[in-house]
Amino acid sequence: MTSTKKTAISRRSTLGLLGGAALAPAVLPGLSGFAQAQSSAPIKIGFQLHRTGIGAAYGRWYERTSNAAVARINEMGGINGRPVELVIEDDGTDPKRGAEVVEKFATQHECDIGFGTLFSHVVYGSAPRAGELKLPYFVCSEGHHVASGALNRYVLQPGITDVKSQVQAMAPFVADNLGKKVTMIFPDFAFGHDHRDFFSEAIEAQGGEVVAKIAIPPTETSFTKYFPQIPRETEVIYHVMVGPAVLTFVKEMGEFFGPSRPEIFGFIDSLEAVDLSSPGLEFLEGTYFWEGNPRYAQADQSDHDKAYRAAIGIDDNGASLTDSADVSTYAHMFSCWETLNVIKRGMETAGYQGPADRVKLIEAIEDMTDMAHSDDHPQGAKLFNGKTHQVFGHQYISQVEEGRLNVKHTTAIEDGFYEDEVDYTAQSF
């Protein structure tokens, strides 16, 4: 009797297990695809995330975007038949902690690569350690630091264009449509200086000129006294003010000019994640912005952008589907999505199996050139420069119309080209 009971339970358990095994691929999408792999161990991507510190507002959206991208990759069968796992470490937006995190990826977590860093000072703090540990390190920071040659062969930026390219690509549109005499208003530190230097050079190449460069001290919170420095001949104001005083800046500029103002062009960095209906921003109506990726769904929105927004949970105004006031960092966070897809393609091309293939992975990505506008690259087509480890792509120029940004011009990829400043492929591994 006892024996029979045991057998019955055993049979039921076995059936249950079998049933469970059969059902598993249906319940866990993508699992069936992993079965073909030589190893089913996950590919570990160390995600150096600004969860805390000054980068946290961006970090929250970078995490959400990256999780969505990895979920999609796994649903499609992972990479080389293996699931992908994000190993996330908070770097506190701190360069020293950043280097420690990179070391943890390589030695403690046994990650295949490092990924996701945004703030340039953290990239600078971390990249040398990645090079020493021979850990491929994919940054999403837009800094010119990769293409300038300041880093090393293990550092790549294949998911987003750099600021030099972005600023340069604006010059033809500004000169042809807004005016050739430009006054620049920028915060007086490295961020503003880059804009000043890159744009001055680019607008001169278009036959224009910067007639005044107004540097605002970073601690300034009232701007009225600076506006009289704007020359009368100014046709365009180029502004890149940032920080908590940005709404005050726009409001005071509006009050200064009143109804008659020159054309105004800015970088959305000033207002990334800021609701355009915020008080003081009414004055921006009719002005232009650079956008890395259009925050508002456009009339000719691509299916790729639609799928990308849906995957992350973003509405047509660039805000969270769960809170319309929670505006995302839409102009930049696509870099995480696209970088992960480049990593996937690179690993598949290299037949990547494990850390021993890291060099093959870098070489495979260095060999990449065209990246087509697709679900993998919803921001647009891109061209990768293997020598400088930097990708080039389209930029968007949008105008504020009735409180939303409508794209008026999409630059050609070539508009952002500049001469190579480094050839990382000449460096040894």
Partner: protein
């Protein structure tokens, strides 16, 4: 070459561990608010409270801070349960810290220390009373010790040192919320105090452990303190002659809270040569932050001592200066509490969501029918109306703290002085001090912040 790509979102509170908030909108919208009006109104309210206090008699003060027994009974078994709950919770979060996901905003170890204990519990202690007795992970040890009360009335200098060390750790450590690392540090801290309890008796907690003294002092402000109901601060009012160490602990609380606000301002960052739009990271400012913290502690201690001394001398040096100083220092407790609530409100609004999600995830583990994936939002920092409400709550916390402090200090002065006139004279320098401190608190709220 540009060092920072995204200074636009350099927000606030980044120096507080696990504060995931860094958002330009709130700070930008606050700069558009008529903060000068709020500041004037706040200071006006404090001045009105000064007039009311000046008219108060000792009997009136006694009535103001009178309390009634809530008729609560002692439940030894419940106390035992609470003790084990606190201990079990602590061990659980330690294990989560070491074994769980190393996410500073999802792992229960940093959520327990920095969100529950650091952000939420101080406010809960003030509003509701001594919830710490349920969370205290050492309390159970008292059940096994016969000499429970030994040492409880000794000076609390060791606790003061612990408190300052915890604050400094929170402000300057490179990764105070890395879960496994924090678990190791918390375990070490817990073991040290456990050993001290077994050596010195369970009274050690009341004089040697920073959190216990901090939370006990804050609970004294509660309307429900000590099993009695009354005006907030009635328990503080009933304290006869606090130890000098406890008085200095109260000053240290206010100094720490004040510096916590000051160090984020454009003004302070400019003083230490840091560009507020390009904060270089905690590791790059350790020395100035430590020096600033020490300076703030010294500055408040010295300025408050001098203010008290002046008041005491003006009033004819009646009684001991030490006694006068100690009672006046206790009157600072409501200001410290007000600063805490004002400073950490926005952090709580974000981190509270993480704590809620982590707790809901626990439920989900056991009930797979609950299908949800809530996202964290900071949308309330984007809406002018909600930012105005947040700012008003913060400013109110500061102002109410000061009003309560003035009523307490006047009441103490009436108790110590022979006459109402003498009491008022002794309070004149303190009134100036309190009004100046109100201004500082409201200025901090309205200031642009760079980290």
């Amino acid at each position: 070459m540009r060092q920072f790509r995204f200074p636009a979102l350099a927000g606030l509170l980044a120096l507080c561990p696990t504060v995931a908030l860094a958002h330009v909108s709130e700070g930008a919208l606050v700069l558009l608010l008529p903060t000068g009006f709020y500041t004037a109104a706040g200071i006006g309210a404090v001045i009105v409270s000064v007039v009311i206090a000046a008219l108060m008699t000792q009997r009136g003060a006694g009535m103001l801070f009178a309390s009634a027994d809530m008729g609560g009974r002692s439940f030894p078994r419940l106390h035992m349960c609470a003790s084990f709950f606190g201990f079990s919770l602590f061990i659980s979060v330690l294990l989560a810290g070491v074994l769980g996901e190393q996410h500073p905003l999802k792992n229960f170890m940093p959520l327990y220390v920095w969100t529950l204990l650091w952000l939420i519990l101080p406010a809960v202690q003030v509003l509701i009373g001594n919830i710490w007795s349920w969370l205290n992970p050492w309390a159970f040890a008292g059940l096994f010790l016969s000499k429970n009360g030994q040492g409880a009335h000794k000076p609390c200098w060791p606790a003061l040192i612990c408190f300052l060390a915890i604050y400094l750790f929170a402000m300057v450590d490179i990764a105070p919320d890395a879960p496994a690392r924090l678990a190791m540090i918390a375990a070490g801290y817990w073991l040290f105090h456990m050993a001290m309890i077994f050596w010195k008796g369970s009274g050690w907690l009341g004089r040697g452990e920073g959190f216990s003294v901090l939370f006990t002092l804050l609970a004294h402000l509660s309307p429900f303190a000590a099993g009695r109901i009354g005006m907030p601060g009635h328990r503080v009012h009933s304290m006869a002659s606090p130890r000098l160490s406890l008085a200095i602990f109260a000053i240290a609380m206010l100094a720490a809270g004040s510096y916590d606000g000051i160090n984020e301002t454009f003004w302070w960052l400019a003083q230490i040569g840091v560009n507020p739009l390009a904060f270089p990271g905690r590791s790059q400012v350790v020395t100035p932050m430590v020096l600033g913290f020490v300076a703030a502690q010294c500055a408040l201690l010295l300025s408050f001592s001098a203010t008290c001394y002046l008041g005491w001398r003006l009033a004819g040096s009646a009684g001991s200066y030490r006694g006068f100083f100690s009672l006046m220092a206790l009157a600072l407790l409501p200001i410290a509490a007000g600063y805490h609530i004002a400073h950490y409100l926005t952090a709580f609004m974000v981190n509270g969501q993480y704590l809620k999600i982590a707790l809901l995830d626990l439920i989900r583990e056991t009930d797979s029918s609950l299908q949800f994936r809530p996202f964290i939002t900071t949308g309330f920092f984007n809406r002018p109306a909600s930012v105005q409400v947040i700012y008003t709550v913060q400013a109110s916390a500061i102002v109410i703290g000061h009003i309560l402090a003035i009523l307490l200090s006047h009441s103490f002065a009436l108790r110590l002085s022979g006459t109402r006139r003498q009491a008022l004279i002794s309070q004149l320098p303190l009134i100036v001090f309190m009004i100046a401190y109100t201004f500082l608190g409201l200025w901090l709220l309205a200031s642009p912040r760079g980290v």
